[in-house]
Amino acid sequence: MNVQASVTQAGAREVVLSAEDLHTWFELKRWGMLRIGHVRAVDGVDFALERGETVAFVGESGCGKSSLARTLLGLHKPTRGRVIFEGQDLGALDAAGWRAHRARVGYVQQDPYGALAPFMDVRRILAEPLIVNGVNDAAERDRRIRAALEEVRLLPVEEFLGKFPHMLSGGQQQRVVIARALILAPTLVIADEPVSMLDASVRVEILRLLRDLQRARNLTLAFITHDLSTVRYFAERIFVMYAGRIIEQASVDALLDTPLHPYTRALLAAIPDPDPDNATHYKEIPGGEPPSLLSPPPGCRFHPRCPVAIAGRCEREDPPETTLADGHRVACWLHVGGEGA
């Protein structure tokens, strides 16, 4: 991990995807027409993903991780801001451009059973992306389907081709989902909590598979999770999201060893840690509710729950993002001007 992380920090790699001031707001209507406000699911996000890196997005439920993923996939239209993928502004794409984009981004969802059409067998499930993306030669499709199944290690392939999703175990279903995400040979794969619905015994297998595939194909992998315990051996960088924003981003080691934002510390405290030192270290963790995305609190969004909030400042002004050494970035008044925690 350390070796990889340092490669990332060298910053020599090409940027595959970047988000600039990205906002995805959902209009809330009452009685079908009356606008009563917006759910600010993604509310001003900036980041860049480099080729071949694995990035984990973490944050508690409802902070907008899935909304961000869907915006990157083009399933939601950004309310404001831009997504640039391989030099292309997604907002400027025409229909053909979108089709090409969709072939270059793979999507792995949380619920493998729900992600597979129950009335299609595995062969059909894997053929569909090829068909809609213009692979018209049946023999060519068959070859790619078999290759994809081999790649996710559903062996012997023959046995799985005719199976329907309900005949597969959760882990096998998720392998089919991964095969489908990879069958169009994407450069970027977005995995939205790919193992959270799986049995603990298969989680590691699936994560390992994803990591192996990522390495073998030099994929950029955006990996959404709220389970920080799996992140360390999986990702190179971590983006911590809170109420629609990225409040801290850093390499895995930097973030896990020296978390700067009080919210990140709170998240880390929630992980059962065998080290007794750490267990007592972050005892000052706040409870409280995640903020409403309809009317986020003024100032720093975390201030109502923050144990170290600076009175008179945090509840008034939004903290700017501060970049510290090694690309460690944090949006917290405690760290403005390079002060340590």
């Binding site: 083009g74 992600a115 597979l116 009335f119 329907f164």
Partner: protein, 443 residues
């Protein structure tokens, strides 16, 4: 489609489904046989009625009523003259032919009618003939004489002079047993009709057929126009099944597609579909059909079109919509969008197949309801003017007061077939419902 295949295999475990399938298979076999045995054109031709039926009895019962009777009712008997038994005498300028026709009659019930069909060949001079009726007990009853033209029906039953002379309907009086007091009975035995003909041309010939009309006919009996009801009962099967199936498929698929499109695109299209449905649901379809039939045409295909058109925006659109709304949000749909599936493919390949299995039972039970609708229209006098259908038979029966006259078979035939159709599809549909909607299995 694994769920579908699994479900169909499970059908074997439901005796009602097996019985239903057997009934439907039998109806299909009858339909296929009808279409093969009586081609469409000849079915229409036969049902048009007229001269082709003149040797069939009027309102004869089905032959099987004899199983339930002490004294059997006669069927129609036709006896043609045999040229070998004709005696010829030559005269100057004429020939005298004596043509015997023998009828073996072994019933105690009277025939319903008695006619002689004469087939005369001549150039200008019409032959003259005189007929005598010889009973088994040796009486000879003169039936009178007349000139005959080429294809002549001599209607003995409707000869009013003869009726007056005999003091009873001719076909009763001629067969009556003189030994029976009170209610007359027929005398079984060999009757002989002797035709004495005089022809005036050397080339002239004369043949005749004696028809003793029965009181029973075939499997289904005949109607007031002498038509064999079997034609309508047989041909009514493919018509009913086709009408029911086309209407059910047409409405179900179109409704499904419209509901899915509304759900998928949402917005004003969905709202528009909902409003049309609500308006359509309060429109009275039957009066509209009556109006179309009265003002325009009662062609079965036009009726089918109207039925399908009004059936599309039916309450099922609301039901399909309710089933499709959660599917629209399903992760597999989102995944499909992410790999670039377009709108049409999404609706046809991703949304509709998801709810198809659940709709199969409803679809199966929808078929007979359209069959009944077609029959009801026909009973109301809005049946197809040309096609023989079950409803038309019932309509004729009703307008001829069949039940008042005791012609119950006229109504029973089509009614039983309609009920069998309903029963077959309902039994299959209910079993399918239990398979595809497993929550019902608990009940």
């Amino acid at each position: 489609m694994s769920a579908l295949a699994d479900g169909l295999v499970q059908l074997r475990r439901y005796p009602s489904a097996v019985a239903g399938i057997a009934i439907i298979a039998a109806l299909l076999a009858v339909a296929a046989w009808a279409v093969i045995a009586i081609p469409y054109g000849s079915a229409l031709e036969l049902w048009r009625g007229g001269a082709q039926w003149q040797q069939h009895p009027v309102n004869a019962r089905p032959a099987w009523v004899n199983w339930f009777r002490a004294s059997s009712l006669p069927a129609t008997q036709r006896v043609a003259s045999d040229p070998a038994t004709v005696e010829v005498e030559e005269y100057p300028g004429a020939r005298r032919l004596v043509i015997p026709i023998e009828l073996d009659y072994d019933h105690r019930e009277f025939p319903s009618e008695l006619n002689v069909f004469v087939d005369a060949a001549y150039l200008e001079l019409e032959p003259f003939l005189r007929m005598t009726w010889h009973t088994p007990d040796g009486r000879a009853i003169p039936l009178g004489g007349r000139r005959v033209s080429r294809d002549e029906r001599i209607s003995i039953s409707q000869d009013l002079a003869l009726e007056r002379r005999l003091g009873a309907l001719p076909h009763v009086a001629l067969f009556a047993d003189p030994a029976v007091e009170g209610r007359p009975r027929a005398l079984p035995g060999r009757y002989r009709l002797e035709i004495e003909a005089v022809v005036f041309e050397p080339e002239s010939t004369l043949g005749a057929t004696l028809v003793s009309y029965g009181r029973v006919h075939g499997l289904a009996g005949t109607d007031h126009q002498r038509r064999d009801l079997l034609v309508a009962l047989l041909w009514g099967t493919p018509v009913a099944l086709a009408f029911g199936l086309i209407a059910a498929v047409g409405t179900t698929l179109t409704t499904l597609f419209i509901a899915a499109a509304g759900v998928w695109f949402g917005g004003w299209l969905d709202a528009f579909i909902q409003r049309i449905t609500e308006v359509n649901m309060i429109l009275p379809v039957l009066p509209i059909l009556v109006m179309v039939g009265t003002l325009y045409s009662t062609s079965i295909w036009l009726m089918l079109g109207v039925v399908v058109a009004f059936g599309i925006f039916s309450a099922s659109i609301k039901m399909y919509r309710a089933m499709l709304l959660p599917i629209r949000e399903a992760p597999y749909i989102e995944a499909a969008r992410a790999y670039g599936v377009g709108n049409t493919r999404m609706i046809l390949r991703y949304m509709i197949p998801r709810i198809l299995p659940v709709l199969i039972p409803g679809f199966v039970t929808l078929i007979p309801s359209f069959v009944f609708l077609e029959a009801s229209l026909a009973v109301l006098g809005l049946g197809d003017p040309e096609l023989p259908t079950w409803g038309k038979v019932m309509n004729d029966a009703q307008s001829e007061s069949a039940l008042y006259h005791g012609y119950y078979y006229w109504v029973v035939g089509p009614a039983v077939l309609l009920m069998l159709t309903g029963l077959g599809f309902a039994m299959l549909g209910f079993a399918l419902d239990r398979i595809f909607n497993p929550r019902l299995r608990m009940i």
